[in-house]
């Protein structure tokens, strides 16, 4: 695995209350973004999501990504915390006992069909929590801000 997913992020990814978004692109580079509630970290450390619709745009884009080693982006938000993960599809699991295990779980919990179990390898993880990013920005780029934020308002108003 190129990067390890921290225990904290694993817990966030595996929390059903977290909001998880997957962004992919088609062969022409057109972006496509969807919510993927099933996205989680599996026991082998791969990011895993369940694709229920075989002909969905996401599924097509994931195939294109695994074929040509194109990366996808994931964002997970939990309360005020947010992380972006750049990942590359590792495997489309469509058959075999591992697939059947997920299939049976889906049948029990949702009563619908399952097309593919997608496994992704994380390549880079960046925390995007707003307050953390804001502080980083101030420290790294102190010149990038409105001037009025730097003056004492009372002094300005006196004149």
């Amino acid at each position: 695995m190129a990067v390890e997913i921290s225990r904290e992020l694993q817990e966030i990814l595996n929390d059903p209350q977290s909001i998880k978004v997957l962004a992919t692109t088609d062969p022409e580079g057109r972006p496509h973004v969807v919510f993927k509630g099933s996205l989680h970290v599996n026991e082998d450390g791969y990011l895993e999501y369940l694709e229920f619709i075989e002909s969905s745009q996401t599924n097509k884009n994931m195939v294109h990504s695994i074929w040509f080693h194109k990366t996808v982006a994931i964002n997970v938000k939990h309360e005020k915390q947010s992380f972006q993960i750049e990942a590359v599809p590792y495997r489309a699991l469509i058959a075999g006992k591992e697939f059947e295990k997920r299939y049976n779980q889906v049948r029990r919990e949702k009563g619908i069909d399952l097309s593919t179990v997608w496994l992704m390898e994380p390549l880079e993880i960046v925390e995007e929590t707003f307050e953390k990013r804001r502080l980083e920005e101030e420290k790294a780029h102190p010149i990038l801000k409105h001037l009025d934020l730097l003056v004492e308002q009372e002094k300005i108003n006196e004149k």
Binding site: D26, N61, R91, A95, E100, Y103, R107, L114
Partner: protein
């Protein structure tokens, strides 16, 4: 046929083809070459086979593999879910095969010593370890692809009963004659085996039937039609509703026969393999089909099948590459591609999709000394057939990577 030690100097290598066609999935190019050249397994790769998990045995009308002889995997899956239908005993060519080995603890497919991709062995379905009430192993009755139940009710082909009428690339007669299997698979055994297979949730997405031609009947092929109707009716009892995901590759039936199959069974899609898209070559390579039905009539029957089953539910298979067999085949790959795709476009205009199987020189076939075309030829052909489907808006759900898995061109339709 002995391997030509200098074959690599005569055509682009697998890596060169991948680099030359950056818009074509390297997974599909690897699959194509593996099906063209076959694969062999190192001892390390064979040590990863678990006969309790992996599929090693199969009885089909074209391949017979007994577990007492060989524990090599029946076939392979790639990371993207692409199937590679090949094995150490399925190809006899003048190029050496790709090799499956263990590299850095992963099972990999290699060319000329260079690891290309990770591969996975097909897992056998649960029914493979069961027996019918008549005492037969169920894998003698049906075989499995990763998501498909395959039934071959007639293990022989009547074209071979007339001298000179067998298709020249086909090994059905040789496979049948060297085994002690019965020609016809018992209907009750089929019924029990399919019923058992369906007990495995998440394993199968379709039922597939094919077998040798049966010419008998009041009308030509009535007996073959009747055989499939009886099986489809029995199998259909397992499902709610009339239609169920299924494909029949039969001989080219007439409109009345096609309508009867559609009306009396739950079959959803139909294929009649024309094998080679050129009338003169069809007459030479498939003399039985030419004599009994004929090239133009075969095409007309495919068009009539679209009226019955609907657009996107009728196709025809090609043994891609036989059109270049010597001495009567096309002389250059360029001419061959042009002529084949021109004919494929005519089919597409009528709603019939042409799908290609990579011709591997089958041991026991009349063409066993022939040479298959270059890898680049197959890549161009796959691109061409995929482009025709997109141009004429014909979907290929019936024969995609999850159903058959034997057609590189339909693999390209995934994106």
């Amino acid at each position: 046929m002995a391997v030509d030690k200098n074959w690599r100097e005569k055509e682009l290598s697998l890596k060169e083809v991948i680099n030359k066609y950056p818009d074509v999935s390297p997974f599909i190019i690897i699959k194509t070459d593996a099906q063209r050249r076959g694969v062999d397994y190192t001892e390390a790769a064979l040590s990863r086979v678990d006969v309790n998990v992996h599929q090693t045995v199969t009885r089909s009308f074209a391949v017979e593999r007994s577990d007492q002889v060989d524990h090599s995997p029946f076939s392979l899956l790639l990371r993207d879910g692409t199937s590679i239908l090949t094995g150490r005993d399925m190809v006899e060519g003048y190029r050496d095969p790709l090799v499956v080995d263990v590299v850095d603890d992963k099972i990999m497919i290699l060319d000329d010593g260079e690891p290309l991709e990770e591969v996975f062995y097909w897992e056998k379905p649960d029914f493979y370890d069961k027996f019918t009430s008549s005492g037969k192993p169920m894998w003698h009755i049906a075989w499995a692809r990763p998501l498909r139940i395959d039934l071959n009710p007639n293990q022989y082909c009547q074209f071979w009963e007339t001298p000179g009428h067998g298709c020249k690339y086909c090994a059905i007669a040789a496979t049948y004659k060297k085994s002690d299997k019965e020609q016809f698979v018992d209907l009750q055994d089929i019924d029990e085996t399919v019923h058992e297979a369906l007990k495995q949730p998440g394993r199968f997405t379709s039922i597939f039937l094919t077998g040798g031609t049966i010419l008998d009947g009041e009308q030509l092929l009535d007996a073959e039609v009747e055989q499939y109707i009886q099986i489809l009716k029995r199998v259909g009892r397992n499902f709610n509703g009339k239609r169920f995901p299924s494909q029949l590759i039969g001989t080219a039936f007439n409109k009345q026969q096609l309508q009867r199959i559609y009306d009396e069974t739950g079959l959803m899609s139909y294929t009649a393999d024309i094998e080679v898209l050129n009338e003169e070559l069809f007459d030479w390579i498939c003399p039985g089909k030419a004599a009994k039905i004929g090239y133009q009539e075969w095409k007309d029957r495919l068009y009539q099948a679209v009226d019955v089953f609907g657009r996107g539910y009728v196709n025809t298979g090609l043994v891609a590459g036989v059109e270049m067999a010597t001495p009567k085949g096309f002389q250059t790959e360029e001419e061959s591609l042009g002529r084949i795709l021109e004919e494929a476009e005519e089919l597409a205009k009528h709603g019939v999709s042409a799908v290609a199987c990579v011709w591997n020189v089958a041991p026991g076939s009349m063409f066993f000394k022939q040479r298959t075309p270059s890898l680049e030829y197959y890549v161009k052909l796959s691109k061409g057939l995929d482009a025709l489907r997109r141009k004429y808006h014909i979907h290929i759900d019936m024969d995609n990577y999850r159903r058959c898995g034997n057609h590189p061109d339909t693999d390209l339709s995934r994106v």
